[in-house]
Homo-oligomer: 345 residues x 2
């Protein structure tokens, strides 16, 4: 059997802000049969994840981090890989059989041929499939590991989260509240700010676009200083947070979205403050914390089963919507975890 597989290909590298024109949706025939011994699997995709960090593999501006292997540049015309959820439709790998629901590294496309040794887990729980690209997927792990392992929160700590209505930020804030912290988030419009306070239980939230001086804004919300800054944006907000950190404060660098789309001026935190206040700034990737994956999953599932976590999802429909969904991340369009639903999952 052969299908027409629609996929999103990189048309041109991103300069500055990404837009729909960086991508094109193409179609290629795909035989749903596999060669024995290849250990491959074919997955029919139901949800693919849309994440800001993906820009780092499709932009023209280069950086030394390429050496890390997590951000190899994608070639023009190639497919963009993405975390996703789907169903196995063909398998010559003894670990998976047709009909298995799986979550793992796929592509922005309708069907993905998965090579052996790619991260791919069977879904066996009762939660919505879409949760497995978000709260129970890499975004959830980034929030959980970043907050608990990198920030090392203590009861009563003051916590600031930027991009707080985003896929990771909204969970960090909720984890922080569950840990007895005082939590303030920032976001880019009034609806998001209201959501943080009214639905997610943040103690305070503010619209950064209405703050002429981030340092003063943070001083207002943290008159005694910040213990933990979970940074998703970098840039000027990182500088302002450093100024407002308490001694021995921890900064977890999860993303620097303000710097993804520009090779211009970067954050220049006051390192004298970092010394005198003995601040710890740590970059991390969710994939470094697979050793606590089971703990993350069981804790998070438990929160979900007891309605202690609100799940914020922002789902577009159809593979054709991927370019707009992705570009929209950088316009602040999304509220919560952005993903695209493909097919009938």
């Amino acid at each position: 059997m052969e299908v027409d597989n629609k996929f999103v290909a990189l048309k041109e590298y991103v300069h500055g802000q990404p837009s729909e024109s960086n991508f094109e949706v193409k179609t290629a025939p795909l035989a749903l049969t596999l060669k024995k011994g290849s250990n491959q699997i074919i997955v029919k995709n139901f949800y693919v994840s849309i994440d800001p960090y993906q820009i780092n593999r499709i932009k023209a501006y280069s950086s030394s981090h390429k050496a890390s292997g997590f951000s190899t540049q994608i070639g023009l015309g190639e497919r963009v890989d993405a975390f996703g959820v789907g169903s196995v439709v063909a398998s010559v790998n003894e670990e998976f059989k047709e009909g298995d629901l799986v979550a793992g590294l796929l592509n922005w496309e309708e069907y993905t041929v998965v090579q052996p040794r790619t991260i791919l887990n069977k879904i066996t729980d009762e939660f919505a499939l879409s949760y497995h690209v978000g709260v129970l997927g890499p975004s959830g792990l980034a929030a959980y590991a970043g907050f608990y392992e990198v920030c090392k929160p203590k009861n009563g700590n003051t916590v600031f989260v930027s991009a707080a209505s985003g896929s990771v930020g909204n969970l960090v804030g909720q984890f922080a509240k569950l840990s007895g912290c005082y939590v303030v988030g920032c976001a880019g419009n009034k609806n998001k700010v209201d959501l943080l306070k009214e639905k997610l239980g943040f103690d305070e939230a503010f619209n950064y676009k209405e703050e002429p001086d981030f340092k003063l804004a943070l001083k207002r919300y943290f008159p005694d200083g910040i213990d933990i800054y979970f940074d998703n944006v970098g840039g000027e907000m990182l500088e302002a947070a450093i100024v407002n950190m308490k001694p021995f404060g921890r900064v977890a660098l999860c993303g620097v979205i303000s710097e993804y789309t520009s090779a211009g001026p970067r954050a220049a935190p006051n390192m004298l403050d970092v010394i005198y206040k003995r601040i710890n700034i740590k970059g991390f990737l969710a994939y470094d914390y697979l050793h606590i994956y089971n703990e993350f999953i069981s804790t998070t599932q438990d929160h979900l089963r007891h309605d202690r976590l609100q799940v914020l999802e922002d789902i577009s429909q159809g593979i054709e919507s991927v370019p707009t969904a992705f570009s929209g991340l950088f316009r602040g369009d999304n509220v919560g975890k952005k993903s695209v639903k493909i097919g009938n999952g």
Copy 2:
């Protein structure tokens, strides 16, 4: 009995580079008698320490770190406190008696009235008194704690030290060699570079003033990347080090001398690199590591007794030389630990 006590007073706050004219040496009579119950001590000073960080208390440019308490601004006309070594000449404190040799927090002056609860330790070992402001004093503790506790070295790690011929840097490099690391230092002239390689056993050293591109220089010395950067300078060198760090690299921020004398552009490390390479940047102060003071002292004394550590001292003579000694730090005049000898210690 009364003496004429010469002391260094702050004449005007430092703007940009410090110079001799920021200070004046004054004289005030001091009675060498103390009131019972005051628990005070009078110390005749033999050596006072001259350290770059002292500028942060005597400059006009202000920063949020003042909140930490370690960098309260000193008033005009006031004395500048400094670590020092001396002999007790009067005491109404039962822990100290006349003739005790002590090391602790004194001032840039000939005699210091020490208040109770000031850091002050009796010297009971056989080493030169001057060592107690350097290798066995705060500089030594900063190097030891910063390297072992903050950088967490492993055998075979690659280590870069800036201001490597300075009071802290030269010891970090030597500790790193004793720990089986590959060590490269940078300094500001050929004599210092030669000293690092020939006397202190650094694997490589370079003159940063002869390097048009710090990133390329570090790439040359660390083709496979840097595990540990012990930063004494901040600024452009910090940016260059971040680019050259290996995954999971550690950066200990001990000082940012390039930024002490300017309120201008600061280091803007690429935070995307910090994330993808999971770099840890940590500011620290030696005083946070008093809990390992005994370990530091016994290990360092052991190294000294077995000639495993070279002691680099740069000692000026007489209280009048303090302003020049201090200003000289920022011109790169000193080689190793800068101190001023006062009196006959």
